[in-house]
């Protein structure tokens, strides 16, 4: 329960970022460059004098939005492929299973970077975001696909589905009315476990300089200064945004674990 509240609070905070912290994430306060937390800059400033709190909030909006959109696309792709495979069976099933197995074994971070490399290097932020979302989704449809296929297979042997079949309900109606509703719980659980992964992928890409790009804030960009770790001795506050990201990932981990358990028990 605490973790669920935490998720809601974090998402609301990120959504309300511009009102919570009126500072401009891109504007440079040259007089206060590289200073620690103060009433004016809660989390301190970076080397250009940009407000870290504002960069954290705006960057989080960007990263979570990119991750969320990726989740939706990946789930839509995976769910469609999985349901089709589970329901149609035969060659379609074998094909989807084989291809998804390939996708599961690929070191997807390398592939993600390579695929991003195949695009123009400096894209406008919105295009970059769209590209990242599509890439992430294209690379991660396999897990939800296998999951929903398994569900469809097990659901189609349930008594009520057999009964509907016996009454002569058309196939598409069985799929829409009897099988889809049974997969929703699993979909939510998948979404909750995929979202932090995708946010992380966006963070990693931005960290590697292949995401949103300067001067636009993103969580990955906030981690970049940590490459020069020796700076941490004097500029310890550049660690604060990273520390603030921990509750986000931790609460998502807890909630998705809870839901997965509950779901497994009820099955």
């Amino acid at each position: 329960m605490t973790a669920r509240i935490a998720i809601v609070v974090i998402l609301l905070t990120l959504a309300a970022g511009p009102w919570l912290c009126p500072a401009d994430p891109i504007a440079q306060d040259r007089g206060a460059a590289g200073t620690g937390p103060s009433p004016r800059h809660w989390l301190g400033t970076d080397d250009y004098g940009r407000d870290l709190a504002a960069r954290f909030l705006y960057g989080g909006r960007w990263s979570v939005l990119a991750g969320g959109a990726g989740t939706l696309v990946a789930l839509a792709l995976g769910w469609t492929a999985g349901c089709a495979a589970g329901f149609a069976g035969g060659i379609a099933d074998t094909l989807v299973m084989a291809v998804s197995e390939w996708f599961m074994t690929v070191p997807w971070l390398y592939v993600l970077v390579a695929a991003r490399a195949a695009m123009p290097l400096s894209l406008p932020p919105r295009t970059a975001m769209l590209a990242i979302v599509l890439l992430i989704a294209a690379l991660n449809w396999a897990r939800p696909a296998r999951l929903s296929r398994g569900l469809v297979l097990s659901l189609s042997h349930k008594g009520y589905v057999e009964a509907a079949r016996g009454f002569g309900v058309p196939r598409w109606r069985i799929l829409v009315d009897h099988i889809f509703p049974g997969t929703t719980g699993a979909l939510v659980a998948q979404a909750l476990s995929l979202l932090p992964r995708f946010v992380l992928a966006e963070v990693t890409l931005s960290f590697l300089g292949l995401g949103a790009g300067e001067p636009y804030p993103s969580w990955g960009g906030l981690i970049v200064p940590l490459k020069q770790a020796y700076l941490l001795r004097d500029h310890w506050w550049i660690m604060l945004p990273v520390v603030l990201m921990v509750p986000f990932f931790a609460s998502f981990a807890l909630v998705s674990r809870q839901i997965e358990r509950k779901y497994r028990l009820s099955r």
């Binding site: 070191p107 971070l109 390398y110 963070v203 590697l208 941490l232």
Partner: protein
């Protein structure tokens, strides 16, 4: 068995074809930046591209590339002007020197913890590990770096990336091992064996561990994939001169031969790890042998 092997080769061929195709249709190449230079005429850039064979159609280049790849040569790095293999080989060594010990240590640590936790029906470690398994390597390594700076430990050397990799591998292994061991522990044949007075030690070595081995062996491939993926970030963060930094550098410079070679080599390594895991399962698990 033969089907499984041929599937492996089809998979590698498909990945290499895909990698090749993607980079041949990608906008721009190594000389794109030169084309914009006012000191150079378009003609000399075109001549360079012809000299390197970049103007040939991609299927032709793919066939050439495959032929040399079979001899262990993956083309030339345009940025360094040396064969890709000479650039990559030492980096692979460095990465392997990091990956292999951390995988071994991570597995050993995780298995030990899982046996311990499953033995005493621990309820605390599992949620902790599932949070750890979801926590991103960038954050893990940042915290490690922070700790190192705070403690005054040296920031160079293998210990930082290795600890980071262990932190990535062991939660993953732990979670799978824990659930497999718990399930095996609750299984009826284990209970019966226990009630018939089989010693606890023998119960673990002869009943529980063999029953839990199956899901763990199939985890070999995914755990290597996870470690390889994380090593890209971890090497970049800690400045370890492995495959990751070279790969990123090649991406930025559009040195596509290097990028392709890294992707294909990694995919091949992972495919064969999965194959090895499957063969191991086939040998160890009579159920699979009978079905096949």
């Amino acid at each position: 068995m033969i089907r499984r092997l041929s599937a492996c080769f089809v998979q590698i061929a498909a990945i290499s074809l895909l990698a090749f195709y993607v980079f041949s249709v990608a906008p721009g190449d190594f000389y794109s930046a030169d084309r914009l230079s006012p000191q150079l005429q378009g003609r000399s850039v075109a001549e360079w591209r012809t000299a390197k064979g970049l103007d040939k159609p991609w299927p032709e280049r793919y066939v050439l590339w495959c032929r040399s790849a079979l001899h262990g040569e993956f083309g030339m790095s345009l940025a360094y002007g040396v064969p890709v293999m000479r650039l990559i080989a030492p980096r692979i060594g460095k990465s392997a020197a990091l990956l292999i010990p951390s995988l071994l240590l991570g597995w050993a640590f995780a298995l030990g913890m899982a046996v311990w936790a499953a033995g005493r029906r621990d309820r605390v470690l599992e949620p902790v590990m599932s949070i750890a398994s979801m926590s991103p390597e960038v954050i893990l390594v940042s915290v490690l770096l922070w700790f190192a700076v705070w403690a005054g430990a040296p920031l160079t050397g293998a210990w930082l990336p290795m600890t980071g990799l262990i932190c990535v591998v062991s939660p993953l292994v732990f979670l799978h091992a824990f659930s497999a061991l718990t399930a095996a522990r609750e299984a009826n044949f284990v209970r019966i064996a226990g009630s018939r007075g089989v010693l606890k030690k023998r119960l673990w070595t002869h009943f529980i561990l063999p029953a839990a081995a199956n899901p763990l062996i199939s985890l070999l491939g995914p755990s290597l994939a996870a470690a390889v993926g994380s090593s890209l970030v971890i090497e970049a963060m800690t400045g370890w001169p492995g495959l990751g930094p070279l790969f990123l550098e090649a991406v930025q410079a559009r040195d596509y031969d290097v990028v392709q070679a890294v992707v294909v080599i990694l995919a091949t390594a992972l495919t064969f790890t999965n194959l090895a895991a499957d063969l191991l399962l086939y040998r160890l698990d009579p159920r699979i042998r009978l079905r096949a």
